[in-house]
């Protein structure tokens, strides 16, 4: 049997140059799997399992009572943003007991999109802390759930203690337009970072 190099084309155009690994992170049930599934142009990798009673003690389901499954390893999908850039989206599990996998997943990633929920902004601190600890640049996207409070951008920035340059956008993880914009804001942010900031 012959072998095909990675460069063989499916629907990636010839001019596609940069393949960039991006993390999609956020606390439990914030919509990471939904986000990757909405945006992926290929069938996404899913590792969903039905939540058990044992897990229920740990995992706060207050915000999404209809949720029956949780990600036990990772989400993965691919999105071609333009002729020059393909993003490989790696969704990390949201629950604390998976932190080790999460750290491995950071390897090779250029940046992270942090999904946040205005009903539980404080739940995002651990995630942002881990990213900062590892020097991983990130943007924040508020995944706007129905019935979740709407705050002015300044209030969210303050509540999350964001640096002035950290992008903050709002999206609906079930909808491609706003979700793509969230990724673009991250990519633009990564592109504006100076070489000095990148050498860590």
């Amino acid at each position: 049997m012959g072998s095909a190099p990675v460069s063989d084309q499916v629907y990636l155009s010839d001019s596609v140059r940069a393949a960039v690994k991006i993390l999609v992170v956020g606390h439990f049930a914030v919509g990471k799997t939904t986000f990757v599934g909405t945006l992926s142009e290929i069938r996404p990798l899913r590792t969903e399992e039905i939540m058990t009673q044992a897990g229920a003690h740990v995992d706060d389901l207050a915000g999404s009572p209809e949720k029956t499954t949780t990600t036990v390893a990772m989400d993965f999908g691919r999105i071609t943003l333009n002729d020059h850039l393909v993003l490989y989206l790696f969704g990390a599990p949201g629950q604390k007991r998976f932190t080790r996998l999460w750290k491995d997943m950071m390897y090779g990633a250029l940046g992270a999109l942090v999904l946040a929920d205005t009903r539980r902004l404080d739940a995002s601190f651990d995630i942002m802390g881990l990213l900062e600890e590892h020097g991983m640049p990130y943007a924040v996207a508020v995944n706007q759930f129905e019935g979740a409070p709407l705050f002015p951008e300044e209030e969210i920035r303050e509540a999350l203690d964001l640096l002035p340059e950290t992008p903050l956008v709002t999206c609906d993880a079930r909808e491609a337009g706003s979700s793509t914009k969230a990724l673009i804001s991250l990519v633009e942010y990564l592109q504006t970072r100076t070489p000095a900031q990148e050498q860590r």
């Binding site: 990675v6 063989d8 393949a19 960039v20 490989y88 080790r100 491995d104 390897y107 090779g108 640049p137």
Partner: protein
């Protein structure tokens, strides 16, 4: 990665699939990005599998303590299905080689051939840093 390099890797995967009953081969970097795949598997599928295999490796490693010593180096992960196997081994620093096979494969032969190729081409298999000129990495390997 230049064409010469890519072809070298493709040749290596051909070698592994000479084992009777072997199905597909994938070479991936430790960050879950596909580096090369055998012809019988499509690119989209190979990319998805590369991501999954990197997660499998990470999770496998985290069971070391269960095995006795949490610092014991990971060597291989074997997954068995009703009709086949997946073998995952280290392929130099920062790269992994995965081979799938039917249930009739000689397991020793596969692992032997995989190991031999990894040894022989160890240098070539080591993932070079990706060239993302526009955006330099924000994190080093953990």
């Amino acid at each position: 990665m230049n064409d010469h390099m890519t072809n070298e890797l493709g040749w290596m995967l051909d070698e592994v699939l000479k084992v009777p009953e072997a199905r597909h081969a994938i070479l991936l970097s430790a960050d879950g990005m596909l580096r090369s795949h055998s012809q019988g598997i499509g690119r989209d599928e190979a990319e998805r599998q590369a991501a999954a295999l990197s997660g499998l490796q990470s999770i496998s490693r985290s069971t070391a303590e269960f095995c006795g010593d949490e610092h014991s180096p990971w060597r291989q992960t074997l997954v068995e299905f009703a009709d086949g196997y997946v073998f995952l081994v280290a392929a130099g620093a920062g790269a992994y080689l995965a081979v799938s096979a039917t249930q009739h494969v000689d397991m020793e032969t596969v692992t032997y051939r995989m190991q031999k190729l990894v040894d022989r081409l160890g240098k070539e298999l080591t993932s070079p840093p990706r060239e993302d000129a526009a955006m330099a990495p924000g994190a080093s390997p953990s």
